[in-house]
Every structure is written in C-alpha cells, then in structure tokens.
C-alpha cells in the first residue's frame, strides 16, 4: 500500500512577505524564491514544516547577480524542496543556515570559497577545498584561467 501524498504546505501563509515566488517543479514540492533579508525566518519555517535534512547548498554567479540554492528533503513527506534567493553582485550576503541545519557548515564554506558568497553568522568561514591563503574565488565568471606560474606565486607562502 503506497503512502498517500502529503497535503500541500500553505507556504504563502507561513512565509508572508518573505515569499517572492513559488514555482512548481515536477516530482518535488517546488521551488521557493524568498527575500534574502528574511532568510533566517524562512529557514525556521521550512524546517518546522518537516524539511529536516539539508542535502546541499549551491551558489551560482549570474554576472549581474548571484543566487544561492538550498536543496531540502522531508522524511515525513518523502519529497524534495528547493529554496533560492537572489543576492546583489556587489554585496552577496545572506544569513547562515547553520543555526537551523548544522550540516550547512561545509556547504557554505564551499559556496563562499567558489563564488564568494558571504554567510553572516557562520561559525567558521574558511577554505574547504583550497589551501589557506588562496586568494581567488575560482568559479566566478570573472575568474580567468591563469598561467600556472601566477597561481604558484599566490599560494607559495602556504
């Protein structure tokens, strides 16, 4: 006997003004675009709605702005949910999700390292994949392929 589909969560009532758009995606609970200023409140509300597992955090550089995507899984509803928020390119700052999902720690370190997104309130925002002292954010569109010797000089003091 298959489980009945979970009743839809009333996101507009839960999130209020923080909700920018609600986009359906086939096979999932859809994608919620939210205002980055209310990130902390959105995380709490989504967590309380049953999405206890944070699968990943990704950062995207759209040149004119940046985007952070959160993928969440609900064990009770057996469904995925995507959160996304747009950040201005000159000040890409969003509140950390580590207070709600502790597993966000390394994902946010990676997103900061690769596309330079600042997570306010992160307990330990340092390099994850690159050595300490690395001066680039290599997945930014503005990052050019360097001659290997240039990179060598930049990280030689490690």
């Amino acid at each position: 006997m298959t489980a009945l589909p979970a009743p839809p969560v009333p996101w507009p009532e839960l999130l209020g003004e923080a909700l920018v758009a609600l986009e359906p995606m086939e096979g999932t609970s859809g994608r919620i675009r939210f205002r980055s200023a209310d990130a902390e409140r959105v995380f709490r509300a989504v967590h309380d709605a049953g999405f206890h597992h944070l699968t990943m955090i990704g950062g995207i550089d759209w040149v004119d702005h940046r985007e952070v995507i959160y993928t969440l899984w609900s064990d009770a509803g057996k469904t995925y949910l995507f959160l996304s928020t747009d950040l201005p390119a000159d000040h890409p700052t969003v509140a950390t999700a580590t207070r709600v999902w502790p597993s966000a720690n390394w994902h946010e370190r990676e997103a900061w390292e690769m596309v330079d997104i600042q997570f306010e309130g992160h307990p330990d925002l340092r390099h994850l994949l690159m050595p300490d002292g690395y001066e680039f954010h290599p997945l930014l569109r503005s990052f050019k392929l360097h001659e290997p010797e240039d990179l060598e000089v930049k990280v030689r003091h490690v």
Binding site: M130, Y134, H146, E147, P148, E149, L151, E152, V155, V158
Partner: protein, 195 residues
C-alpha cells in the same frame, strides 16, 4: 680401579685434556681481544691506502640502489598501476623495490598522480621526513607537468615545483613496465653518482 689408567692415557693425547676448562665467555673475550685490533689495523691501513670513499661508498651505493624502498602512498589512477607493478605479474620486488608505509623507512618517493595545492605542503612534509639520501620519481603526466589539469586553478603544474625530481615517467597512466623502467633508470643514475 684397574681400568682408570688406560682411559687416562687416551685422554692425555687430546689437546688441553689435562688443563682446567675455560668458560665460553672468556674464549669469546680472548678472541675479540685478538681479532678486533687486527681487523682495525687492516682496515685503517686499507683506508689510508685507498681513501674511505673508494672503499666504503661503493658498497653503500650498491646496497642502496638495489633496495630502493618507495613510499607507499597513492594520489590518483597512477597509483593503480603502481600497485599492479607489485603484483604477481610484474613483481617489482625482484628489483629490491618494496613499498614502505612510513616515510622514515623510505629512500624513494614515487609521486603517482595529480598534486593539488591543498596537498602540496603535505607532500613536502613527507619528503622532508625521508632520510638522506633520497630520490623522487614523477610518475605520469600529472606529476610531470600537471597533465590535462595544468591550467586548472587547484593543480600544481608539475611536482618539480615542490621537490627535486630525478626521473620523469611519461604516460597517462604509465604501464607497470614503464614504472619498472623508470626505477632501473634511477638505479643507473645512482650508480653514476659522485659523492
């Protein structure tokens, strides 16, 4: 009573039969008192004659180059070929090559794989933990010059940026025969080594 003189006569022909027994430890001490000064004298005269380097260094050179112990660590797919070379088919141990797990027991570092900047200073630490004299083989294109990842933001373009390399082995990955050939070339290099 009558049989005793006969046996005594037989015993008297054996050397040292009538003397008190000497303990084994004293025999050894006596031997070393005589042997060690004689050996020392012979050795010092030889060294004075030929020079220390001519006498002893070739022995160490011969012993060292025929028992190269590589460090047992793998970075990427070249490590699979490295492991295969120690299997039954290629059997690198017939050249005295035995991988050791501690850098303090090694005199050869085979860098088999892509070296990233993150692992670079660990590699230098391992190299510095190895006792002198020591050699490095860059195995495969990645260790030689970065390979296909040369322009990547995270890859060291050749391990010779970090440690001095003696032998480069081309290939992606090199076959175990190529690795054995590299080791034999390194043995040739060691044979030609001037102290």
């Amino acid at each position: 009573m009558s049989a005793a003189p006969e046996t005594k006569g037989v015993r008297g022909e054996l050397p040292g039969a009538g003397e008190a027994a000497v303990p084994f430890v004293e025999i050894e001490a006596l031997r070393s008192r005589e042997f060690i000064p004689a050996a020392k004298e012979a050795l010092t005269s030889l060294i004075a004659e030929q020079g220390q380097s001519k006498l002893i260094r070739p022995v160490f050179n011969w012993a060292g180059r025929n028992s190269l112990f590589p460090l047992h660590w793998g970075l990427a797919c070249c490590a699979i070929e490295f492991a295969a070379a120690f299997g039954a088919r290629w059997d690198a141990e017939r050249f005295g090559v035995v991988p050791r797990s501690s850098p303090r027991q090694c005199d050869l570092m085979i860098v088999n794989g892509t070296v990233t900047w993150k692992v670079a200073h660990k590699l230098i630490t391992l190299y510095e933990q190895m006792p002198e004299p020591k050699w490095v083989i860059a195995m495969g294109n990645c260790a030689t010059g970065g390979g296909p990842f040369r322009t990547a933001y995270s890859v060291v373009p050749g391990v010779d940026k970090l440690v001095p390399v003696d032998v480069y082995i081309a290939g992606c990955p090199p076959r175990p025969e190529a690795m054995l050939e590299g080791i034999l070339r390194l043995e040739d290099l060691i044979r030609l080594r001037k102290e």
